[in-house]
């Protein structure tokens, strides 16, 4: 194991986050705070409780998950795309480092950043609503597992993209709609039966539901199903990345 290389990539990426603290940390915290102001305080105060949880508190796990997914993807995608764009990828490809070590460095840094943002949002949320985390270890497990899984997805997007437009396309056109339709702001039990079944094809439902369960003990789908789906997605991403390095797709001629 080339630990020096993993550390070099990890800290290089982390220092980039600190250079762009406005974009990396302040921006997601600000936008989430606005969600709390609008949905939690202004609209939420006029809405009924959901499964015994105030609306403001109900949306906290979903909002954290929304930022966790988008931040994980964009951090990891940009992390690997930037050296491809500038041409500095030559150094990574010529270094004595295995694909696994490259992934640990980039995905580890991306996941660390998004977990940090998630925890900051959690702290921010506690200023607006009363939070009660019933299963803190499950909450942390979902946080880490989701951050790693979607950072892996971001890494794939960063290798697949051949321009900044494509880099933004999946997070904007796929992940954000799936997150909004994945029970971030509502319980899927509030939907008509047909749409409840359709929604079950949305992988984000399982993430939000499992994460919400760790806060309030309530969930739209079984917690085991949530955990299982997250693991399946993690394995799919790992499989795709393994294939990318085996074939040199978009990396090596």
């Amino acid at each position: 194991m080339n630990l020096h290389a993993v550390k070099a990539i990890y800290f290089f990426e982390m220092s980039r986050a600190l250079r762009t603290v406005m974009q990396s940390i302040i921006s997601p915290v600000l936008s989430t705070s606005l969600y709390f102001v609008v949905f939690g305080a202004a609209i939420g105060s006029r809405m009924a409780q959901i499964d015994g949880v105030s609306y403001g508190a109900f949306i906290v796990p979903g909002l954290i998950m929304l930022q966790l997914l988008t931040q994980s993807i964009s951090n990891a995608a940009f992390g690997i795309y930037f050296p491809r764009f500038t041409g500095t990828i030559y150094e990574l490809l010529s270094a004595p480092i295995s694909p696994l070590e490259i992934v640990i460095g980039y995905v580890g840094a991306a996941a660390t950043k998004s977990i940090g943002v998630g925890l900051i949002i959690l702290g921010t949320a506690s200023l607006f609503v009363d939070l009660n985390i019933q299963h803190p270890f499950s909450m942390l497990a979902f946080l880490v597992l989701t951050a790693v899984t979607f950072s892996l997805l971001g890494f794939i997007i960063g290798i697949w993209a051949d321009g900044f437009e494509k880099l933004q396309a999946i997070p904007l056109l796929v992940v954000t709609p799936l997150t909004f339709l994945g029970g971030t702001f509502y319980s899927i039990n509030m939907l008509p039966p047909f749409w409840q079944k359709v929604t079950l094809f949305n992988p984000v439902v399982y993430l939000v539901s499992g994460f919400r369960w760790s806060f309030y003990g309530i969930s739209d789908v079984n917690i085991v199903a949530s955990l299982g789906m997250t693991f399946v997605f993690l394995l799919v991403c790992l499989g795709v990345i393994w294939r990318i390095f085996a074939t040199g797709y978009r990396l090596k001629a």
Binding site: R19, E91, L93, S94, I97, K252
Partner: protein, 308 residues
């Protein structure tokens, strides 16, 4: 001198069908400066990229210090430093950060004293805290060399190291390369500045159309393929070469003021004596004479043209 790099039957065909390398066989000796010459698109960068692990070969093998570049990639790559042709840098990073990153990437623990030594040797120490985007082109080129040297490689690839670099900086870089060689580093440089190879290389390889057409000691190459010319400034201009001199390989200048005689320096008889005797007999006098020898550039151009 033992070989440190052995390339055997190496070919590369890109997915579009373009064959960039055709059955290359090449040995690089430990501690030498080897210049790989070739016109644009000859396959120089592809060859270097394969050895460094950036491009996958189609067929053939490369071993470095006995290790295969694919099976034994960790040990092999740790020995190599690469200075790419393009000025590819992370514009927002500092000089110090970029060089330290490279050292870590190649598996070496932090060593600020060594990084300081490199930056000072490359006249970058004053800029260590500057962002790369603020550096001039020449400084960026030196930064790439610093990055390539950060992990103390024993083989250094320089892909067009002085492209776009001014004359003074070029001289400085040549000195850096010579200093490195003095410490035992094997250096492979690609260039299309022939004077660069002529100035520094121990051996020269010429590649064109993906084929390695010559590999030779520089001095030997110039001796074997070089031509020498004797230029005679005439006392009186000639309108044509006199019949008495027709048996000599002569060329009359357009103004009729000089005759150029091309001869083989390695032949037992150069023909100079008989030429001068024939000129005296024909009454052709000369006021001055000069000799010239073909440069590596002349040889290179002849070789590449003959292959087309």
């Amino acid at each position: 001198m033992s070989d440190i790099i052995s390339i055997r039957d190496l070919s590369k065909t890109y997915s579009g069908g373009f064959q960039a390398l055709k059955h290359i066989n090449l040995d690089i000796r430990r501690g030498e400066i080897f210049a790989l010459l070739g016109p644009n698109g000859a396959g120089k960068t592809t060859l270097i990229s394969i050895v460094c692990g950036i491009v996958n070969p189609t067929t053939g093998s490369v071993t470095i210090d006995g290790g295969d570049i694919i099976r034994d990639y960790r040990r092999v790559r740790a020995m190599i430093g690469l200075v790419p042709q393009e000025l590819t840098t992370d514009a927002f990073e500092t000089v110090w950060g970029a060089v330290s990153f490279s050292r870590g990437l190649f598996g070496k623990p932090p060593n600020p004293a060594y990084i300081e030594k490199i930056l000072k040797a490359l006249s970058l120490w004053e800029k260590k805290d500057n962002r790369i985007m603020t550096l001039s082109g020449g400084m960026k080129r030196r930064l790439l060399i610093a990055k390539a040297l950060s992990h103390e490689p024993i083989i250094l690839f320089l892909d067009e190291p002085t492209a776009g670099v001014d004359v003074e900086l070029r001289q400085d870089m040549w000195q850096v390369v010579r200093d490195l060689r003095a410490t035992g580093v094997t250096i492979i440089l690609t260039t299309h500045y022939i004077e660069e190879a002529e100035e520094m290389a121990d051996r020269v390889g010429v590649i064109t159309g993906g084929e390695l057409i010559v590999v030779e000691e520089k001095a030997e190459l110039m001796r074997k393929l070089g031509k020498k010319q004797l230029i005679l400034r005439l006392s009186e201009p000639l309108s044509a070469i006199p019949a008495a001199l027709a048996r000599h390989e002569l060329e009359l200048a357009g103004d009729g003021q000089s005759l150029t005689f091309t001869y083989d320096t390695h032949a037992g008889r150069t023909g100079i004596t008989s030429l001068l005797e024939d000129m005296r007999s024909a009454g052709v006098g000369f006021a001055d004479l000069d000799t010239t020898q073909s440069s590596l550039e002349d040889i290179f151009v002849d070789l590449v043209r003959s292959k087309r």
